[in-house]
Symmetry: C2
Subunit: 363 residues, 2 copies
C-alpha cells in the first residue's frame, strides 16, 4: 500500500524509516512441499495433544482467566529438561520476541553490537527498531565465524549457532573463548537449530555471567504454530529481560501454549527420537544431492545451504516452485547462488531430489 | 532480586530506569472468589471448544507449522462482526501488545501524548519504554474526562472508554468532538470494556482518518487466557502498526488462539447474551451495595469502582481477602479510598455482598 505524505503525518517519524523483517511465505496451497521455513516434518509429541485436551475439558472454562504472567510451570519444565534452575529461564512469545527483548535489555550501549554479515536477518531489524548501534563482521571465505574478528570494542555480540542460513556450527570451545574475550559485554548465542547436532552453550551458563542462550520450541519440538521461545542465563540477566517484558506485555504466552510446551519438555524420548530422525534424513539428503553436483555446507541444523556447480540457484528455486516444491532463496550479496532447504521426511526429501533430477536433466 | 552495581553493567542504561507494569495477582488458591482482574465469569462460546478440537485432530500435526503471520482469517472474522473491511483491522498478542505498538507507531512525536491521571496504568510504562513525551490531564472532580482539558498542543491522545478503573464512559458525541479538535494527531480510544454498555467509536472509523479504536477478546469474549487484541482504523494507520509489528515479532498470534478467536467472533448470539448477563448482574450488585452505604460510580464496564461512606477501602480489601474474596485496591492519589470489583455471576456477587455485610457488622 502506498501512503500519501499527507497521511504519513500521523506516523511517528522514526517508524516511517523502519524496514520490517520479511518472513518466509506461508502459502495456502494444497499438496505443496514446503521446505522454506525450517519447520519440523513430524507432529509434536502425543503428550502435547493430551495436555491440550485437558485444558479444553469443562467447556474450556479456564480460557476466561488470564494466564500466569510468569508462566512458572513452563519455566520449571524447561529448567528440568535443561538441568538448570528455573530462575535461569526467561520465556517469550516465540524466540523472535525473546530476541527483541534481548536487543532492548542489553544492546542499547554506546558501542556497536556485533553480528555477522550472513546471519538471521531479523538482527538488523531489531537494531533499527531499538536504535541500536551495530557493526557487521563478515564471515570468512568458508562462510565460518572467526571469533578473532570480534576482538574489538563492542556493546554486545550476537551469534546464531548453528548459523542461519549457512547451517555451520561454531564449536563450544570457540564460544567459550568469545565469552572470555568480552567479560564486560553480553554475548548472546541464538540456538534455534542447536538440537540437530551442534553443541549447546547452556552448559557454560553457570560459569559465565555474560552469556545468554536463546532457544525455541518451533523447530526441534514441532511447535512453530504455538510461539514459545526462551532464554537461559544467570538471574541478573534474566531480571533485565523480565523488566523489559513487563514494560511491554505482561502476559505474552497463552494458557494453551504454556500447557503444550510443558508437555513437550516432559517427553524427552519423543524429542530425542525425532531430532535423530531429522539428522539421519539430512545426511541421506546431502549424499543424494552431492551425486547431483550440489555443494553442501556442513550442516548441524534442520536445513542445508547448498549451491549447484553449474545451475543458478534462483533458476532452480523457480523451477522447483513450478513442481510444487518451495525452498528459500535469498537475493543477497555472497549468498545469491545458494538455496536454503529444510529437511523433510525421507519421502519428502525423495520428492525434492526427484524434482531436482528432473530439472537438471531438462536445463 | 537485588542486582549489584557490578552486574548491572550488562543492562542497557535506559533499562536500568524502567518501572514495569504490575498486573493484578493470579493467585493459585482453590475456592478463591477472584474479582480482581476483570475476567468474565462465564466460559467462552462452545463453538470455541469445537474449533480448538478440530485443530487437535490428526495428532495436532498442524502445530508444527508457523501460523499465518497476518492472521488473515481472524481479521476477516473481526471485520464481519464489526461490519468493516478487513484492511481496517490489526491484531496482536493481547491488547497490551497492540497498545505497545500504538505507542511506537504514533506517539513518538515532539509534543507530548495526553492521557488522564486516573486511567490504565500501563500507559506511563509504554511511555517510558519508548521514550515518549507525556502530559497527564486530571479527571474532573466527578472522575470524568472533560475533553476541553485536552485542547492544547499534543503528539496524540489516548483515552480508555469506559475508563479504568473508574468505569465511567464518555459519550460518542464527546469523542467525535475530540477527533475534530485534533485533526493532525492520532486519537486512540481503548475500548477494552466497551461491550458492557458503552458506545463504541468503531462507527466513527470510516469518517475520521485520525482515529484508532483498540479492543480485546479478554473481557467480553472470555478469552483472557488466549491473548488476542485488535485495533480498528483506516488502512494508513493500520499500515503503521503492521510496520512496527513486523519489526518486532512476525508471528505474534498462535494457531490455536487464531482458531478460538475466529469461533468467538462467529458466535454473535452467545456474545450478546453473555454481555447482557454481566450487565444485569452489575445493576443488581450496584443496588445491593448502595443498601450497604457504598457509593458506586456509574459503570458501563464489567467492574465497578466504589467507596464506602464510613469504612476505609484498604481495610475492606484486607478483610475480604481473609474471607477468600480478592478485589483490586490501588494505593494511589485520589483513588486510595476506592475498590475496583469485577462483576461475577449472581451467585458470586451474592457471596461478595454477604462477605461485606459480615465485615461491616463486625467493624
Amino acid at each position: 500500500m502506498t501512503i500519501t505524505n499527507e497521511k504519513m503525518r500521523f506516523w511517528s517519524p522514526e517508524v516511517r524509516e523502519l524496514e520490517p523483517y520479511v518472513p518466509g511465505e506461508q502459502p495456502k496451497i494444497q499438496n505443496l512441499l514446503k521446505l522454506n521455513t525450517n519447520e519440523n516434518p513430524y507432529p509434536p509429541s502425543p503428550k502435547v495433544v493430551e495436555a491440550l485436551e485437558k485444558q479444553l475439558s469443562n467447556q474450556a472454562d479456564v480460557l476466561r482467566l488470564y494466564p500466569d504472567p510468569d508462566a512458572s510451570v513452563l519455566k520449571e519444565a524447561i529448567a528440568q529438561q535443561q538441568k538448570i534452575q528455573a530462575d535461569h529461564i526467561f520465556v517469550g512469545n516465540g524466540s523472535d520476541e525473546v530476541l527483541a527483548h534481548i536487543f532492548k535489555a542489553f544492546f542499547q550501549q554506546e558501542e556497536p553490537v556485533l553480528y555477522s554479515d550472513i546471519t538471521y536477518s531479523f538482527y538488523p531489524v531489531y537494531s533499527q527498531f531499538f536504535n541500536t548501534q551495530t557493526k557487521v563482521i563478515p564471515l570468512n571465505e568458508h562462510f565460518e565465524i572467526d571469533i578473532r574478528d570480534y576482538q574489538q570494542p563492542n556493546g554486545g555480540i550476537i551469534i546464531t549457532n548453528p548459523n542461519a542460513p549457512t547451517s555451520i556450527a561454531l564449536p563450544l570451545s570457540e564460544i567459550e573463548k568469545l565469552l572470555k574475550d568480552h567479560p564486560n559485554r553480553v554475548v548472546v548465542i541464538d540456538e534455534a537449530y542447536v538440537d540437530f547436532g551442534a553443541e549447546s552453550a547452556v552448559s557454560l551458563v553457570a560459569h559465565y555471567e555474560n552469556l545468554v542462550v536463546c532457544q525455541t520450541t518451533s523447530k526441534s519440538r514441532s511447535l512453530a504454530g504455538l510461539r514459545v521461545g526462551y532464554a537461559i542465563a544467570q538471574p541478573h540477566l534474566i531480571a533485565a529481560l523480565e523488566t523489559v517484558k513487563n514494560s511491554f506485555n505482561s502476559y505474552p504466552i497463552d494458557r494453551l501454549a504454556i500447557a503444550a510446551a510443558v508437555a513437550s519438555f516432559e517427553d524427552q524420548p519423543y524429542f530425542e527420537a525425532h531430532c535423530n530422525k531429522v539428522i539421519e534424513s539430512r545426511e541421506k539428503l546431502i549424499a543424494d544431492l552431492k551425486i547431483l553436483d550440489f555443494d553442501v555446507l556442513p550442516s548441524k541444523a534442520n536445513f542445508i545451504f547448498t549451491s549447484h556447480q553449474h545451475e543458478k540457484a534462483n533458476i532452480l528455486a523457480e523451477k522447483l516452485r513450478e513442481q510444487g516444491v518451495i525452498v528459500r532463496y535469498f537475493n543477497k550479496p555472497r549468498i545469491d547462488n545458494f538455496l536454503r532447504i529444510t529437511i523433510g521426511t525421507d519421502e519428502e526429501n525423495k520428492r525434492l531430489v526427484d524434482s531436482l533430477k528432473d530439472i537438471l536433466e531438462t536445463v
